[in-house]
């Protein structure tokens, strides 16, 4: 499973590296000790920065949420930039592949980057579990915060597990492949 996970991170290298950089920045902002700043390691923390687990509730939440939100934004913009002209409008579809202009290949690159960002959107399972412990645990946050953060927490938790078992990669790759086949 770890080997498969590493393979998906290598395939989506540009965005897995960007995700780890954003995790690094978030840890610096939140004053969380970064144990190893190497991002691409051949283990289950590939694409993530190894850092000290957060002590505070806010840190535990934001270390998961901020990089995830940034990558979501990147995924949305780059995927839309490529998918709208390629899949929805069918730009340059009538031309043979060799005759398609450069801008067509730019759209393809955007789709690749957007899909990679989708596959690198979620935090590590450890961070998510720490967040759960801090917010919903024994000395957790107050009820109002629990309610407000429930949906983001659910999203991040589900996503972390899906990403860990490469389900996000399979879904994204399948969707993009279907788009290109139907194209």
């Amino acid at each position: 499973m770890t080997a498969l996970y590493i393979i998906t991170k290598i395939i989506t290298l540009p965005m897995s590296y960007l995700k780890s950089l954003w995790e690094h920045i978030t840890c610096v902002i939140l004053r969380l000790a970064i144990e190893h700043k190497e991002c691409i390691k051949m283990d289950e923390t590939c694409g993530h920065v190894e850092h000290r687990l957060a002590d505070k509730k806010a840190s535990a939440y934001f270390v998961c949420a901020i990089p995830s939100f940034v990558m979501f934004l990147v995924a949305l913009v780059t995927l839309a930039a490529g998918a709208i002209p390629l899949f929805y409008l069918g730009t340059f579809k009538y031309l043979a592949l060799a005759k398609r202009p450069l801008v067509f290949w730019l759209y393809v690159v955007f789709v690749y980057l957007g899909g990679s960002a989708l596959c690198n959107m979620f935090p590590m399972v450890e961070d998510v579990l720490k967040m759960r412990e801090k917010i919903y645990g024994k000395d957790g946050a107050n009820l109002f915060v629990k309610i407000i953060l429930f949906l983001p927490f659910l999203w991040l938790t589900a996503g972390a597990y899906l990403e860990k078992y490469c389900v996000t990669f399979l879904l994204t790759a399948g969707a993009i492949a279907a788009g290109f086949i139907l194209l």
């Binding site: 000790a33 700043k37 409008l89 069918g90 730009t91 340059f92």
Partner: protein, 586 residues
Amino acid sequence: MDDFEKNNELENEAEIPETEGSAAFDEPAEEVTAESADTEAPETEAPAAFDEPAEEVIAESADTETQEEEAPAADEETAEETDGDDAGAETTDTEVTGTEDGQDDGEPMLEGGDLQPCEDITDESSDEDGSEDQIEDTEENIEDIPEEELCKRCFARRRDTSVEGFEYCSVCVDEMAETKLSFGAFFYIVLSTAVFMIAAVFMLAGIYVAQPVAKAQIVAGQHRMTQAMEQLDVADERVEKLNSRVFGQNKNNIILFETGTNTEYRYIRFLNVLTGPPSAGETIEKTETINIEKLPKDLKAIHDEYRLFEDTYDLVSNEFQSIYETTGEPDFDTMIAKIDQIAQENDNVHKPALEYIKYYLAKNSGAPEDVQQSYLEQLEKKYPDCVWLYLNPLLNLYFDAGNYNKVIGCCDKILKINVNDVSAMTYKARAYYNLDKQDKVDETVKLLEKNCTENSKSKVNAFKAELKRRDGKFDEAIAICDNEIEKYPKKEEAYRQKAIALMLKGDMKGAHETILIAYEQADDASFNMLEILAITANKTGDKEKIEEIENIFSYYGGSLSSKAQACIEGTMTVEQIFMEGTGDIG
């Protein structure tokens, strides 16, 4: 303090040479004990140190000879064990080990009798925050820290045990919390931000073009076909705008943005719904951005039907041509029989087209309208799905025949396909007007106002002017037309209705001038407008214009309608044409 030291040294020097007598040590020990009682010397520890058995003292001094570096650490440890009086400890240890005195022979020196507190020394050497002491203590105690408790990063300090299972000391944790990005990583973030900005621009451009296309799909689902077609035109305009903005006048015809092949497919599907396979298929063949070999299945079927339609027409033309060449121009019955024969002998022909050709032949040969009507009704009965073939001609025939209930039925069928069809709604309103159902007329006009598109608003207002002039309210009709002309100076229908209202009012010259404006600015004048122009030219004596109009009609293989002809000849008045019956020429 110096006295203490001197006393200490002197006594030590006196004691260190190998006298073993305890009495020699007793006095100094008592003095030390008394002195230490006066100071902050470890009262509890010093006696204990003095009470140490000789073996322990010997062992400590033996260790010191080989481990001089550990002496300061040992001093610290001892200091921690006391009440903080390092001097006493150091002095004790020093005296015990003898390193300060430089006597490293390892021999036990004393049992503590000559020990003197040296807290003053300690006070001078200690830091205010005690960190050096801590470091000295740590360094001193590093040997004593088990390996599993050492910081994994610096291996010099004890781990931060406040966090269970954590592997680093607090100093390293602080340093790690400020780990900086490498230059390469920083550069990568800048590069990715630039890529993100470029992607954002393309995303916005894509949304700008895709938004009217998406709207077209939505309104097409609501059977608003005219609105859907207009939205696709908006998408084309936006693409032109974007490309010209990027490339200026687009001299090299470079295309960065385009509506895309999928949008062309949508356009053809809408066209097929509105006008049927002939026009949709023709569009497929003429559009450069469509590759016929890569068509989706439904468009392939449309294209195939178009080809069959064209081939059927060609077949019929060839057959009539051969008849004409052999026996001369065939009569109407011969042509109808020939068409039936072609339908029976050939399976690969467009059967609805053959039925339509019968109506077309009837119309061109001047057959009575009921005969034409019968052919279309036969077509409707046999092939009810081919509404694009029979519905509009049937509607016109019913209207001309005064069969207004059937007109309303036809209009309802057309409106089911396209809610925005202004022509169908105006015919329906006219039918209700002729049936004297004013409430239905008002209801239809409201529906017309609600469902018309932006581009057809001028036609709707012109129709309202028509209803006013049919009610005899010519000035109101003219006012409505003037309002429309001001808003949409290029729209022909407002000029036409104004000219009719002016004619009915008796102002032929004004009517002629009005319709001339529309004629001169029109790219493609409609037959309806040409007929009004012909009437006004006749009434004002503009023979040049009449000739010009006749030439146009003959060029297109048509002629003036019977009503226009009758008006020009004087057999019908303007009032009879525009106030009675259908209320118009066409």
